[in-house]
């Protein structure tokens, strides 16, 4: 309880500091796409916490809004927050959605398993949204939420540091990662609109976002494809960011002046290795049989799989390949220095509390 009070006071101080420095008034309209999603609801929560009342939440007509309603109830904001039902693939809906908005937090993303579907829901939807803003003078910031999936770690040395300057994946087709492909293309378009139309964008690349509301284990921990859970490596650090901390970073990226055109990685201060994470998960949730294989074995098996896939013209799809293996399981370190320095971000929730929150969702009620 004492800890909670201290944390609340710290949050209040942070809110007060950000309110002094932000570039928009609390009455200005903010659009949040993907607002009913895992991170989106926390972003809305954080915005309401900062005193913004004129928030427009872009939701699909079929979306479940339970999580969002809970947030709105907590702030008694059901009357001031607008729920905008629409489809980002409809240019008309996008035109109406961006009308009068000073900041756009674009979190909606495609989770489709196909390259075309992922591209459509990530890149094409973003293009529609950006097209709708072109020629409107009112937009002060376009916060594009991307992902660590855009990075290539194939050429980063073992235990090297992955930061915002690291190379992006140059062959998403070979990595066989539709989500990463969609996000890469989305980023390319955002940068293009920044260059050609002066879009005041900021790109955030969250690592592995975790918290209550997301139950599945990240693929960076291991895979369950073959009926038994295979943990790869175990010593690789996970680029963890607790969902509330991540939402805080996203919100700051929209409020902080002078960071247009910048890219920020979002990871927390304290991180766990995949072995530590799995161990904590198994202790609290359930013990299940898992096999650990060393990274170099996984790398060579991925190499074999990739070769067979090519030779057999896709009889086995190249779901395991060197690029994916390196991206998910290679031992690299992460930094949030830029996020701290330029946005003044620091994690609100520490690792222990974050893990407790994540694991609590599995407790029997």
């Amino acid at each position: 309880m004492h800890g909670r009070n201290r944390e609340d006071r710290s949050s209040q101080l942070q809110v007060s500091k950000v309110n002094q420095e932000r570039m928009v008034l609390s009455s200005e309209r903010i659009l949040v796409t993907g607002s009913n999603g895992f991170i989106g609801t926390r972003v809305v929560d954080a915005l309401l916490g900062y005193g913004f009342s004129s928030i427009r939440c872009f939701v699909r007509p079929s979306s479940r809004l339970d999580g969002l309603y809970k947030v709105l109830d907590r702030y008694s904001a059901a009357d001031t927050v607008e729920l905008f039902q629409g489809d980002l693939l409809s240019p008309e809906d996008c035109q109406r959605a961006v009308d009068g908005c000073s900041i756009i937090y674009h979190l909606a993303a495609g989770s489709d398993k196909s390259f075309a579907g992922s591209f459509m829901n990530s890149a094409l939807a973003t293009r529609n949204l950006m097209d709708a803003t072109v020629g409107r003078g009112e937009l002060k910031r376009f916060v594009n939420v991307s992902s660590f999936a855009v990075y290539s770690t194939l050429k980063i040395q073992r235990r090297g540091v992955l930061d915002e300057t690291c190379p992006l994946e140059d062959s998403p087709q070979e990595r066989y990662d539709p989500y990463g492909f969609g996000k890469l293309k989305q980023e390319e378009l955002v940068k293009e609109y920044g260059k050609n139309f002066g879009l005041p964008y900021v790109i955030l690349r969250p690592g592995t976002v975790f918290g209550a509301g997301k139950r599945q284990l990240s693929g960076r921990v291991g895979i369950g494809t073959f009926g038994v859970f295979i943990q790869v490596g175990g010593f690789n650090l996970l680029p963890l960011t607790f969902v509330d901390n991540c939402a805080e970073a996203i919100v700051l990226a929209g409020l902080k002046p002078g960071v247009e055109g910048e890219v920020f990685n979002v990871v927390d201060d304290e991180l766990l290795t995949s072995g530590q994470f799995l161990s904590a998960y198994q202790k609290s949730v359930n013990r299940f049989f898992s096999v650990r294989i060393p990274y170099f074995v996984a790398y060579h098996l991925s190499c074999l799989w990739e070769k067979y896939s090519k030779k057999s013209k896709g009889q086995l799809p190249p779901v395991f390949n060197r690029r994916r293996c390196a991206a998910e399981w290679r031992e690299v370190r992460f930094t949030n220095q830029k996020l701290r320095d330029r946005l003044g971000w620091k994690p609100r929730i520490g690792l222990d509390q974050a893990m407790a929150s994540f694991l609590s969702q599995f407790s029997p009620r």
């Binding site: 579907g117 094409l124 293309k185």
Partner: protein
């Protein structure tokens, strides 16, 4: 034509186009020369991944610039007729994804245009060209059934849990699926109907369709979309057929049963197997012992064939599509009949017209979907 490379274009660069690209890349003596999508970015994203530089957002422009030998149309069905007409008029052969057209009238018109211009058309009924379906056809042609089929059963199920498809469709009432006469069913059932059409006479005397909305779809706010369908068909020769489409049956089914006067066949496309049921009689209690052993032997034979085909790289995900496309290209090169007879394409379209007419407009709709509480 027979020795030259066929120049292929794809119109509509959504999810299914990826499968076409993979299938085409497996076939010798052809290459993709152009991609077209109303949304140029979609064409470009596919072009970037498969190494095709010529991308267009206008079909007329593409046809004028590239003059492809064959155009694969993989757009939503509402555009099939107009796009295919344009391609045929400009001299290209056309592969149309399923459903072939929205109505049988459109299908008939396209076939007439193709025949008039000595061009070839085919429908994306690739389930009929899997290894086991080809084997089934061979056995039927060799007289395994012992005569004309007496009865056919086609089962086709679909899992609504695939949120990548149902999410956008149910979440957006203006999605093209809602504008089809048969809505969700229209986009899915043609595979199952086409399998029946292959063995039915052109002249049908009876079609009775019953449809319903599953509780699962109701819980997903399915509106007026129906997802449970049962159809009874009889042709003029007396052959009867049953078609069952369900989103609820577990484990999922994708089967065709053909019952002949002597023997029967069961095609199971989920497990890529063909079970031959040979009529034999046994004395006394042997009736209960021998047939199960024979069934086990049939299943083992299928498992062994699949293992051998996998090892020989003949068993892969899109074999049916690759085989159909390959046969279609050969029919063009050798000026032969296309792999799917036009009468089957037309009959499939006519049966679907009748089904949707009955379940959405007619008298046979027994259970109307209940409105979902807000």
């Amino acid at each position: 034509m027979s020795n030259s490379h066929l120049r292929i274009a794809i119109v509509g660069c959504g999810k299914i186009a990826d499968q076409h690209v993979q299938a085409i890349e497996r076939i010798a003596n052809c290459r993709i020369v152009a991609l077209c999508d109303r949304e140029l970015l979609m064409a470009k994203q596919l072009g970037e991944r498969c190494g095709v530089l010529s991308c267009f957002s206008d079909l007329g422009e593409m046809l004028a610039a590239v003059s492809p030998d064959v155009v694969h149309i993989t757009t939503p069905p509402q555009a099939h007729f107009s796009l295919a007409s344009l391609c045929l008029e400009s001299g290209s052969h056309v592969y149309l994804e399923k459903p072939f057209t929205v109505t049988a009238t459109e299908a008939d018109t396209l076939i007439q245009i193709a025949e008039k211009r000595d061009l070839r058309l085919t429908a994306g009924h690739n389930c009929q060209f899997t290894r086991e379906a080809i084997e089934m056809r061979r056995l039927v042609e060799q007289g395994f059934l012992g005569g004309k089929p007496i009865h056919l059963e086609s089962y086709f199920s679909y899992d609504l849990g695939d949120a990548s498809y149902t999410g956008p469709v149910l979440g957006n009432r203006s999605h093209w699926v809602h504008r089809l006469p048969g809505k969700l069913l229209h986009n899915i059932i043609s595979h199952g109907i086409a399998k029946l059409a292959e063995f039915l006479d052109d002249e049908l005397t009876e079609i009775l369709a019953l449809a319903d909305q599953s509780p699962r779809l109701r819980s997903l706010n399915g509106g007026d979309v129906l997802d449970e369908l049962r159809v009874l068909i009889r042709d003029k020769t007396g052959t009867t057929a049953v078609f069952v489409f369900s989103t609820q049956i577990k484990p999922g089914l994708n089967q065709l049963r053909i019952c002949g006067p002597v023997n029967s066949l069961l095609l199971d496309q989920n497990s890529s197997s063909l079970i031959r049921n040979v009529s034999r009689t046994y004395k006394s209690y042997l009736t209960f012992f021998v047939p199960p052993v024979q069934s086990a032997r049939e299943n083992l034979r299928n498992a062994w064939n699949n293992i051998c085909d996998f090892a020989g790289k003949r068993l892969y995900q899109d074999f049916g599509m690759t085989e159909l496309i390959s046969r279609f290209y050969n029919s063009i090169k050798c000026s032969e009949a296309p792999p799917i007879p036009y009468r089957e394409i037309l009959l499939t379209a006519k049966i679907m017209d009748e089904i949707f007419g009955q379940i959405y407009d007619g008298d046979y709709l027994k259970v109307k979907p209940e409105p979902v509480p807000a």
